[in-house]
Amino acid sequence: MAIIRAERLSKTYRVADKQPGLAGTLRHFVQRRHRDVAAVKGVSFTIEAGEMVGFLGPNGAGKTTTLKMLSGLIHPSGGVAEVAGHIPQRRQADFLRQITLVMGQKQQLIWDLPPLDSLRVNAAVYGLDDATARRRIAELAEMLELGEELTRPVRKLSLGQRMKAELLAALMHQPAVLFLDEPTLGLDINAQARVRSFLADYNRRHGATVLLTSHYLADITALCPRVLLIHEGGLFHDGSLRELSSRLAPCRLVRLELEEPRPATDFASYGEVEACDGRDVRLLVSRERLTEVVARLLADLDVRDLEVSDPPIEELIGRLFRQGEVA
């Protein structure tokens, strides 16, 4: 059964429209102008309980706005959102106890106190008795590899330690739905990996539903069998990363290592030459012609090594975002 449902969800912001310079400033002061910006345009999807779904898209695509609508922080301009059987923007206590929203750039921990002080407040707010709160803190601290950091003022913690403590604070009421907005932003590779493995572990242990946005594709590939790709406010793709890769690049990458160097012109009949550096050649070949082209390459040329792979997904998505190739 779907725990998250978005139906033609949209959000339009009204923003001030001011020209630069003194004249623009005076004109804006006398007569304010506004324009509407559509941040999310009629996005529809459902997510089943226990799923881990990655939310991809460039800056300003509408990912965070969608998460804020689903968590109840902002009201949609149109469409319907339903999470855990509730209309999010009503922010009923029963709904708030079932969700959490972690924003990588925002913090809820009290800056000048150790995380444990904030955790005690959260335990009281969510109605956890002392024994339950202690048990959950111990369990999450172990999963997150947090120890004496919990008794050190938050301002003295490293970014990675702080993020882990934020996750602990956001999860101690054991929410069924996690909205995570860039939870690994700014963390080093090791800290990113630890947060990732924690989230996978948490999902396994508690069957929580996770909707995750990240600029680091590694987060998505490691955690999310399903991705939603949002671009310019609209949903471009809903499926696996592999399907996304096929859709973005209906071709495969063939790498050749030759016995003798050859000019690039020799490869034009096989596919699109992406790179040709003497003995090393990279060709983009359509999926339909792949078998035939590989057979021809092996028959026609002295091939020392041949490898077929998908073009890196980062490159494909990056190209999509840069070129606006969305139909």
């Binding site: 922080l73 009201h75 708030l96 959490t100 924003m103 925002k106 000048d112 106190l113 407040v121 009281a124």
Partner: protein, 288 residues
């Protein structure tokens, strides 16, 4: 009320008590981190003592005596003798110390820094956090206020007095209500953050009427009767003058003043909640 209703009420009260205890203890820990700042805030509230010095000098001396000799000379030109004047301003100092509100600044900063968003996603009305912060700050302030009052009595031993227990209880209640009025008034302005990012600028509009009509700068007795009567239609005299007069042992309309304070709270509380609901709706519409 049914047994189930009583059990549910008991559960809610226990939950409320746990939340209050956790919020107060964490906020007290936070205020202790800022103890030097709290001490400076307490010290910066000595305006009533400065005004005491001025009013003592301006007190009309008996015929034949020059300015300044009014101190300790009995009746002053404002209907209060020097001792009453000293005790009034000490009372004003104490009332101000424990009724001060700064929610507009804290709230504005939280709204601008995005800290409000996580608060809105927890099953607790965010204003309770600010109430707890104020109460914790008052407890932190207490030793500094006692110290400043002790220095005052060392300098003016004649002004030392022990109010009756009834007056002490009434003063504590009046200060608590004064704080509630001040907090609600500031909350209404703070909530305007949802419409204008710099709501604290509006708070400054209240500063002048607060300073003069609250009795912080001058006892209300010095104002013309019409202005004094008009002042009592505002909440300001109840924030400082009334608790100060109570503590100083002056004759004041106690029941009428408490009734006026209750009326202001009855007006401001629903207004705050209405503004909050509308403000959060707007905040949510604008992008949080």
């Amino acid at each position: 009320m049914s047994a189930q209703g009583i059990r549910s009420l008991g559960r809610r009260l226990r939950h409320g008590w746990r939340v209050a205890r956790a919020l107060l203890s964490s906020q007290y820990a936070l205020m202790l981190e800022y103890r030097a700042e709290t001490a400076l805030w307490a010290l910066s509230g000595i305006l009533p003592f400065i005004m005491l010095g001025i009013w003592s000098q301006l007190a009309i001396p008996p015929a034949g005596l020059g300015p300044g000799s009014g101190a300790g000379s009995g009746a002053s030109g404002i209907g209060l003798d020097q001792l009453q004047l000293s005790r009034y301003f000490l009372g004003a100092f104490v009332a101000r110390q424990f009724s001060v509100a700064w929610v507009v600044y804290a709230f504005e900063e939280d709204a601008l820094q995005g800290r409000l968003s996580p608060y809105l996603l927890q099953p607790l009305q965010p204003l309770w956090r600010y109430v707890a912060a104020h109460l914790a700050e008052q407890v932190t302030r207490l030793p500094f206020v006692v110290l400043i009052a002790a220095v005052f009595f060392l300098l003016q031993p004649a002004a030392l007095w022990i109010p009756s227990p009834g007056r002490i209880v009434a003063t504590v209640l009046a200060i608590w209500l004064a704080f509630t009025i001040n907090f609600l008034l500031q909350s209404c302005i703070a909530i305007l953050c949802f419409w204008s990012e710099r709501a604290s600028a509006l708070e400054r509009l209240l500063l002048i009427p607060y300073l003069f009509l609250s009795g912080l700068v001058a006892p209300l007795e010095v104002f013309p009767p019409a202005l004094r009567a008009a002042a009592h239609w505002t909440p300001f005299p109840y924030m400082v003058a009334f608790p100060a007069q109570l503590l100083a042992g002056q004759v004041v309309p106690i029941a009428a003043s408490f009734a006026a304070m209750a009326a202001w709270i009855a007006l401001l509380l629903p207004l705050t909640l209405l503004l909050w609901r509308a403000g959060v709706r707007r905040y949510s519409a604008m992008g949080a």
